[in-house]
């Protein structure tokens, strides 16, 4: 059985005319890494809000169809309980800092305090996660004075410290500079080996190509394509659909068009390199 399962889900935010999700059918299995891509306004964030239980508990509006998490309908979940199961990191580095803690160390501990973790264990867990996310040198700093990239790493640390089974990550790098982005990529890479279920929304397609097991392409509130990463990203229809695909995949398609195809369409630079070498 899938960990998260959506059947014919439609959803409309309050006071809006159009449905943000239309007949969405998809499922997520435990331990896999999922990428969600597609145009802005296509329903990516709404899907995240649903899986996180913010819909229907925080955003009202009209929800139809079935969305089950661990077999239990999303409407029956208690949001507080859900927050200890599914972690959530989103775009804006500035709103994810609590504003009530004066050091990074305390900021990272905030979720553990709320969960009632005993103090000594809390200290060990916070230290471990700060080490893992390479923010050990920042623990004494005031989180309200950090740069966007640093704040985003602190936000990740606060959530990862809570050790949820699932992480929903919504465009974590869209407001960061290349260095900040690189640091977040490293965090995401380290998560890949953690056996967690990860759902990542991201425009930077190279990141998706590198890490994800499966991909969902959202368009106009529906799932336009889904499947294993390689299969989805190399679809010619996807390119013609104006979805962004990796530069090297475009190159692979262009080679086909020029009548000198490679034996497969690559999605990473390494793959492209191997394919060209193999052809000689």
């Amino acid at each position: 059985m899938s960990f998260i399962e959506l059947k014919d889900v439609s959803y409309k935010y309050p006071y809006t005319k159009d449905f943000a999700l239309k007949d969405v059918n998809c499922s997520f299995e435990k331990g896999k890494f999922y990428g969600i891509i597609g145009e802005n306004g296509g329903g990516k964030t709404t899907l995240c809000n649903l899986i996180r239980g913010l819909i229907p508990h925080f955003y009202l509006g009209k929800l139809t169809g079935e969305c089950k998490i661990e077999g239990k309908d999303i409407r029956d979940w208690d949001t507080a309980e859900l927050s200890s199961k599914i972690g959530y990191v989103f775009q804006n580095p500035f709103t994810q800092i609590s504003g009530i803690k004066s050091t990074v160390f305390e900021e990272v501990a905030i979720g553990l305090e709320n969960l009632g973790v005993p103090k000594d264990e809390m200290i060990e867990r916070v230290m471990k996660v700060c080490e893992q996310l390479d923010i050990g040198h920042l623990i004494k700093n005031n989180p309200n004075n950090l740069s966007g990239g640093q704040r985003q790493r602190v936000a990740f640390a606060s959530i990862i410290a809570m050790d949820t089974d699932t992480l929903v990550i919504d465009e974590p790098t869209s407001q960061l500079d290349p260095e900040g982005t690189e640091n977040v990529f490293k965090i995401i890479e380290s998560l890949k080996h953690s056996n967690k279920t990860i759902i990542l929304v991201e425009h930077k397609i190279d990141l998706i190509a590198q890490f994800c097991d499966e991909i969902l392409v959202m368009e106009n509130g529906s799932v336009a394509f889904s499947g294993p990463t390689h299969e989805v990203l190399t679809k010619r229809e996807l390119f013609e659909h104006k979805a962004s695909i990796p530069e090297v995949s475009k190159f692979g398609l262009a080679m086909e068009d020029a009548g000198k195809p490679l034996s497969a369409i690559p999605i990473t630079i390494e793959e492209a390199y191997e394919l060209i070498k193999e052809r000689g």
Binding site: L54, S83, F90, Q96, E106, G116, M127, I139, N144, I159
Partner: protein, 269 residues
């Protein structure tokens, strides 16, 4: 990573200063009792006593600079204004004792002492409260209140609104720059400035407001509404007996001051 810092959380919250380390609530009790006593007694002698007590504590807790600077801003205009006003209003009342002349202007003793009583009771009150706020982290006060049963929701609202005022000040600057960059003239006469002021107001309020929804979501992701028991990384020192004794003394001073006030008003009758 600074492990020493991380492990410092194993201990109680500690600043290494006898006064600073008092429990925020007992510190508040002491300051309020003395401050209110100052108002009740209403005598310059007690005000000056609190002022010197303030100076001693400020030196002891190393906040003398900020203490004296903030206090002088209140004290000097207050002393000048009340004494001049009193002399003007009640100066030439029959039977007043002349004390000195300033540029030919005769000052009298009775209104002078009355003005000193007013000015110094306010200075005394301000001194103890200033010492309190200079030596108490808001988060410690909220933590102490939470220990006494205030919900962490109330504590969060209090602390985060203080932070949002700081954030608003920062964003106000950028917003003003952005409006200048569009070509809105901000230098010039009052009307020009007013015209420039309006376009900055909206974004400041809206950016503060639009952040709150996301903040709520972020806090929810940090299990804010989880009710299976809350633990704390920072724990305040259990209140020792001698601290209660100091509190009790402060309360006694307040009671004494009330008794004194009643007695002296009866005496006056």
């Amino acid at each position: 990573m600074d492990k020493e810092f991380a492990y410092s959380f194993k201990d109680y919250v500690k600043y290494g200063n006898g006064f600073k380390d008092l429990n925020p609530i007992s510190k508040l009790t002491i300051s309020l009792c003395l401050g209110i006593a100052s108002c009740v007694i209403h005598r310059w002698q007690f005000g000056i006593f609190l002022f010197f007590l303030g100076i001693i504590l400020a030196l002891y807790t190393r906040v003398f600079d900020r203490f004296i600077r903030s206090l002088l801003v209140i004290a000097i205009p207050l002393l000048l204004l009340t004494s001049i006003m009193r002399q003007l209003q009640y100066g030439h009342v029959e039977g007043n004792t002349p004390i000195f002349k300033i540029f030919g202007w005769q000052w009298y003793k009775e209104p002078f002492i009355a003005s000193m009583d007013i000015a110094w009771y306010i200075i005394g009150f301000s001194s103890v409260l200033l010492i309190y706020f200079l030596n108490t982290e808001m988060k410690d006060l909220m933590l102490a209140l939470e220990n006494r049963g205030v919900t962490h929701v109330a504590s969060y609202i209090m602390l985060s609104s203080m932070q949002s005022i700081i954030d608003m000040r920062k964003s106000a600057n950028t917003i003003l720059e952005s409006q200048k960059a569009r070509g809105i003239e901000t230098d010039g006469n009052v009307i020009v400035r007013m015209k420039a002021f309006f376009p900055t107001l909206g974004p400041i309020l809206l950016s503060a407001m639009s952040g709150t929804e996301e903040k709520a979501i972020a806090m929810d992701a940090r299990a804010f509404s989880h009710d299976g028991g809350h633990t704390y990384l920072r724990v305040l020192r259990p209140i020792p007996v001698w601290e209660y004794v100091i509190d009790a003394l402060a309360v006694l001073v307040l009671i004494g001051s009330i008794v004194y006030a009643i007695m002296s008003s009866m005496h006056a009758l």
